[in-house]
C-alpha cells in the first residue's frame, strides 16, 4: 500500500509576486496573513478525511476480491467510531473486538457475501487506517499557502489510528486527535471550549424539545469528552515518566487545578442536562420520543462516567508524582558539575534541522558506541574452513556412556598392624590394671620394633579415651565376661607427646545380676564398704590401689583395696 499523498493546492488570494503593492494592498496582505492560519486549519481538516475517500478510490484495485460493493469510507468512519468509543483513560480498543464489530458492519452492507470476505474487508479497512506498510504509519499531505514570500508548499503529517502498547504489553488501538476531528466534522479548536460548546448546544436542544437533533449533539459532546480525556492522559503519562522535566512548583499544580475545575464544570452541566432529560423521558407522550430520550440519557451517563474516571486519574496523579519526586530527591548530591546532557546536547540538537543535526550527532555516536574490532581474514583460515568436511551428526545424538562409579573408600587412619598391637596391648589381665603412661611406653617400644605399626601411641590414646566413656550396659547385654575401662584418678600424665590425666586402664569382670530384681544392687568391696546403686550393673574390677573417685559415668565400680 502506498503512503497517501494528497496534494491540495489552494490559492486564497489572487496574488502575483513581484507586483508592487500600494498601501491598501499591503493592508490586505497582512489581513490575509492573519486569516491564513485559519485557512491552513481548514485545509488540514479537509486533508484528514482524504484517507477515507482514498479507500473508496482504491477498492476497485484490490486484486484478490471484488470490493466495489462496499462503502469503504463509511466503514472507515465506523472503525474510527468503534475505537474512539472503546477508548478510555487507561487503555485503548482491542484490535480483535474492533475487527469483530467492524465485520458486523461489513456484513450489513453485503449480506450475501461470505463471512471470510467480510472479515478480510474489515481488516483491510483497519490496516489502511493505520497505514500499515509506511514507515511512519501515518499520512502525509502537501498543502500550499500564500505568504509574503510567495506560494509555499508545506507537509502536514497526521495519524488516524495509532497502535500503542498497554500496561499488559498487548497492542491497543487509539484514535488520534485528527480522527476525532473527522468524526465531529470540526476544525482544530481549543478542546475545553469545544467541550463546553457541545454541552451548551445539547442543553438548549433538550430544553426546546428537539430530541432528534439533541442526539447528534449528545454524540458530539461525548466525542469531546473522549478527546479531552485523551489529551489529559497523554499529558499525565508524559509527566509521570519524566518527572524531572516538569515544573512541579507552578505549572503542574496549575494544570491539575485547571483540569479538575473543567471537569467539575462539565460534571455539573451534564448532571443538569441529565435531570432535564430524565424529566423529558418520563413525561414523553409518544413511544418514539420516549426511546429517543432514553438513548440520550445513556449517552450523557456515559459522559458522566468518563468524567468520574478522569477525575480519579487526576486526583491520584499528585500522589504518584510525589512518590516519584521523593525517590529522586534523595539521590546522592552533586559532586562536581559536568556536561548537562539534556540541556546542552539533546534539546539543542533536537531543534536543529536534520541536515545540521547529523554531524554533531555522529560526533556523539562514534565514541559512545565504543569500538569495533575489524575481522582480519587470513587465507589459511578461509581455506581450512572450506576444505573441512561438514561433521556428520547422528540425528539421535551420540551414545550416552554409563559412567563407571568406583566406591572411594576412605583409607583407615591406622594400619592393620597397629590394631593388632593394640589388641595385644589391651589384652590385660583383670588382676593387673595398667597406667596409660605404661601402655604408651610399651606401644613406643613395639613401634620401634615393628615399622608397620604406625602411630601406635596415638591409637592407644584414642582407644583409652574412648574407654573412659565406656558404657557398661552394652557389654552386659551382650553377656561379655569382661569389659575394658579407663578412669582418671587425678594423676597427671608425664609424656612428651600427650598431656592430660594418666588414666588407669583395667579389664573388669562383669557380674550378671539376678534377673528381674529391681532393688538397688549392693556392691561389696574388699575392705567391706558398700555402695548402693540404682543402676542395674555391677562390675568387679581387679585389685587396684586407687580410690574409686573415678570420673565414671554413673556406674558403680567395686574396688579392691591393695
Amino acid at each position: 500500500m502506498s503512503p497517501l499523498a494528497v496534494t491540495l493546492t489552494c490559492m486564497e488570494v489572487e496574488f502575483e509576486p513581484g507586483r508592487p503593492f500600494d498601501d491598501a494592498a499591503s493592508d490586505l496582505i497582512s489581513d490575509r496573513a492573519l486569516t491564513s492560519a485559519g485557512f491552513a486549519q481548514r485545509v488540514k481538516a479537509l486533508a484528514t478525511t482524504a484517507p477515507l475517500h482514498d479507500l473508496d478510490a482504491r477498492k476497485a484495485q484490490v486484486q484478490s476480491a471484488d470490493y466495489t460493493v462496499y462503502q469503504m469510507a463509511e466503514l472507515a468512519l465506523h472503525a474510527i467510531d468503534l475505537v474512539t468509543i472503546a477508548m478510555d483513560f487507561d487503555t485503548g480498543a482491542r484490535p480483535v473486538s474492533v475487527l469483530k464489530d467492524l465485520a458486523a458492519g461489513v456484513t450489513a452492507q453485503a449480506p450475501d457475501r461470505a463471512l471470510a470476505e467480510h472479515q478480510r474487508v474489515a481488516s483491510w479497512v483497519l490496516e489502511n487506517l493505520l497505514n500499515v506498510g509506511s514507515t511512519d504509519r501515518g499520512f502525509r499531505t502537501v498543502y500550499g499557502l500564500t505568504g509574503p514570500g510567495g506560494y509555499e508548499r508545506r507537509t502536514f503529517d497526521f495519524k488516524l489510528l495509532e497502535e500503542t502498547r498497554g500496561l499488559d504489553g498487548d497492542l491497543y488501538l487509539r484514535a488520534s486527535n485528527e480522527a476525532v476531528n473527522v468524526l465531529v466534522g470540526a476544525l482544530e479548536v481549543d478542546l475545553e471550549a469545544a467541550h463546553i460548546a457541545a454541552d451548551v448546544r445539547l442543553d438548549i436542544l433538550i430544553k426546546r424539545g428537539r430530541l432528534s437533533e439533541a442526539q447528534a449533539a449528545a454524540q458530539n459532546a461525548r466525542y469531546r469528552t473522549i478527546q479531552y480525556g485523551e489529551m489529559l492522559r497523554q499529558r499525565l503519562e508524559a509527566t509521570s515518566r519524566d518527572v524531572r522535566n516538569v515544573d512541579w512548583a507552578q505549572a503542574m499544580p496549575a494544570f491539575i487545578d485547571e483540569a479538575l475545575a473543567h471537569i467539575e464544570g462539565r460534571y455539573r452541566a451534564e448532571n443538569a442536562i441529565l435531570v432535564n432529560l430524565t424529566e423529558v423521558r418520563d413525561t414523553a407522550d409518544t413511544p418514539a420520543r420516549k426511546a429517543h430520550a432514553a438513548r440520550l440519557v445513556d449517552l450523557v451517563s456515559d459522559c458522566l462516567r468518563r468524567h468520574d474516571q478522569l477525575q480519579a486519574g487526576l486526583q491520584t496523579a499528585g500522589r504518584r508524582f510525589r512518590a516519584e519526586q521523593d525517590r529522586q530527591t534523595f539521590a546522592p548530591g552533586p559532586i562536581r558539575a559536568a556536561l548537562d546532557l539534556h540541556a546542552q546536547l539533546l534539546q539543542p540538537v533536537l531543534t536543529r534541522p536534520v541536515a545540521e543535526a547529523d554531524v554533531p550527532l555522529l560526533r556523539f555516536f562514534s565514541p559512545a558506541a565504543g569500538l569495533i574490532v575489524p575481522h582480519a581474514l587470513r587465507l589459511v583460515d578461509l581455506f581450512e574452513g572450506l576444505i573441512t568436511p561438514p561433521a556428520e551428526r547422528d540425528p539421535l545424538g551420540g551414545l550416552i556412556e554409563d559412567p563407571e562409579i568406583e566406591l572411594d573408600e576412605e583409607p583407615p587412619r591406622f594400619p592393620g598392624a597397629s590394631y593388632e598391637h593394640l589388641a595385644s596391648l589391651l589384652d590385660l589381665d583383670p588382676a593387673a590394671p595398667q597406667r596409660l603412661s605404661g601402655l604408651l611406653a610399651d606401644a613406643r617400644a613395639r613401634q620401634s620394633e615393628d615399622p608397620d605399626a604406625e602411630d601406635l601411641p596415638l591409637l592407644v590414646v584414642v582407644r583409652v579415651l574412648a574407654l573412659a566413656a565406656q558404657e557398661i550396659g552394652v557389654a552386659r547385654r551382650h553377656h561379655d565376661a569382661t569389659v575394658l575401662i579407663a578412669l582418671d584418678d587425678g594423676t597427671v600424665l608425664q609424656d612428651p607427646a600427650f598431656a592430660g590425666a594418666d588414666l588407669l586402664v583395667a579389664r573388669a569382670e562383669v557380674l550378671q545380676t539376678r534377673s528381674g530384681d529391681t532393688q538397688p544392687i549392693v556392691l561389696e568391696t574388699a575392705d567391706g564398704s558398700h555402695w548402693a546403686s540404682d543402676g542395674t550393673e555391677t562390675i568387679d574390677a581387679g585389685p587396684t590401689n586407687v580410690k574409686p573417685e573415678g570420673n565414671m559415668n554413673s556406674n558403680m565400680i567395686q574396688e579392691n583395696a591393695p
Binding site: T135, D136, R153, T155, A249, G318, V349, A357, D358, P374
Partner: protein
C-alpha cells in the same frame, strides 16, 4: 617490571606487554577483576611511567585515545574519527549511508544520546563514578518522545509551528522526524519493527550491552539495563566531543553546571495542594 620502576623504551618485552594491554582494551567485556594478567598490566600502567608512555604511543599509532585506566573497567580507549576501530554509522545501521538518509542517521544517533541522557540525567551523575544509571527501552523511547513533544509545544506557543517544506526535507527539524516515526507498530508476529523508534532504541541498548557498557537486568519495559563504569567514561568523552561541535556551530551554550531540569522546592502549601 624492572626494580627501578623504569622501563627502557627499547625493551622488546615491554613493548609486547604494552601491546597486550591495548589488546585487552579492545575487548571491552573483559575486566581486570577477571584476568590476572590484565590486572597486573593495569597496575603497571599506573606505576611505571615508561610503560605508560609506551602504551600511549601504541594507542597514538592506532588512532586511539586513552580515556581512563582503572581496576574496575581496565583500560578504556576511544577511537578518533579516522581510526579503523571506530564504529561507523553505515556499519551500525544499514541503509543509513549517503545523501537523503540523514533522517535515518539522526534517529539512530538520537537513540544513543537519549539512552545516555536518561542514564545520567543530571550533570552530577555524569561526574559521579559511583552512580549507576538504569535505562529501559520503553523509557528511553518515551523520554526522547517527550522532549520532542515539549519542543513541538514550545514551537506552537512561539507561533513558528510551521509544517516543514516539502521541497527541502533535510530542513525538517530533528524533533519532528522523531515524532513522526511510529513508536510501536504491530508487526503481525509480535516482534519489534526495526524501523520503529522502539526498534531503534532496542538496537542501541543491545549494542551497548554487547560493548560491555550496559548490563542487561531483565526483560521488563522492553529490556532493562544498568550502566557500567565504562559507559560513564565513554559518554563523558562523546558528550564533550559533541558539545565542542555544537559550540562551534553556535547551537548550544555554556551553563554554570547546575542543570536545567527543574529543581523543586516543596512548601507546605504545595504539598497540601496535591
Amino acid at each position: 617490571m624492572s626494580s627501578t620502576g623504569q622501563t627502557t623504551a627499547s625493551s622488546v618485552g615491554a613493548v609486547a606487554d604494552a601491546s597486550r594491554l591495548v589488546a585487552f582494551a579492545l575487548r571491552p567485556k573483559l575486566r581486570p577483576a577477571r584476568d590476572e594478567t590484565y590486572a597486573e598490566l593495569v597496575r603497571r600502567f599506573h606505576h611505571d611511567d615508561g610503560f605508560a608512555e609506551l602504551v600511549k604511543a601504541i594507542c597514538l599509532g592506532l588512532d586511539l585515545v586513552i580515556l581512563d585506566a582503572d581496576d574496575r573497567h581496565g583500560l578504556v580507549v576511544a577511537s578518533s574519527e579516522e581510526s579503523v576501530f571506530a564504529v561507523r554509522m553505515t556499519d551500525y545501521a544499514r541503509r543509513s549511508g549517503g545523501e537523503g538518509k540523514a533522517a535515518e542517521r539522526v534517529l539512530h544517533a538520537l537513540a544513543h544520546l537519549g539512552a545516555a541522557t536518561l542514564a545520567y540525567p543530571r550533570p552530577a551523575d555524569l561526574s559521579n563514578p559511583a552512580y549507576v544509571g538504569r535505562v529501559t527501552v520503553n523509557g528511553v523511547e518515551a523520554f526522547v518522545r517527550e522532549a520532542c513533544r515539549r519542543l513541538s509545544e514550545a514551537a506552537a506557543e512561539a507561533g513558528d509551528d510551521v509544517d516543514p517544506s516539502a521541497d527541502t526535507p533535510d530542513l525538517e527539524t530533528a524533533w519532528r522526524v522523531y515524532q513522526r516515526r511510529a513508536a510501536t507498530p504491530g508487526s503481525g508476529d509480535g516482534r519489534r519493527v526495526a524501523s520503529s523508534t522502539i526498534g531503534i532504541v532496542g538496537k542501541a541498548l543491545t549494542f551497548l550491552a554487547d560493548q560491555g557498557m550496559l548490563v542487561k537486568r531483565s526483560e521488563e519495559d522492553g529490556g532493562t539495563y544498568a550502566t557500567t563504569s565504562r559507559y560513564r567514561i565513554q559518554v563523558a568523552e562523546a558528550g564533550s566531543r559533541m558539545f565542542a561541535e555544537l559550540l562551534s556551530l553556535g547551537i548550544t551554550e555554556i551553563t554554570d553546571g547546575t542543570g536545567t531540569l527543574t529543581p523543586v522546592e516543596w512548601t507546605d502549601q504545595t504539598v497540601s495542594q496535591l
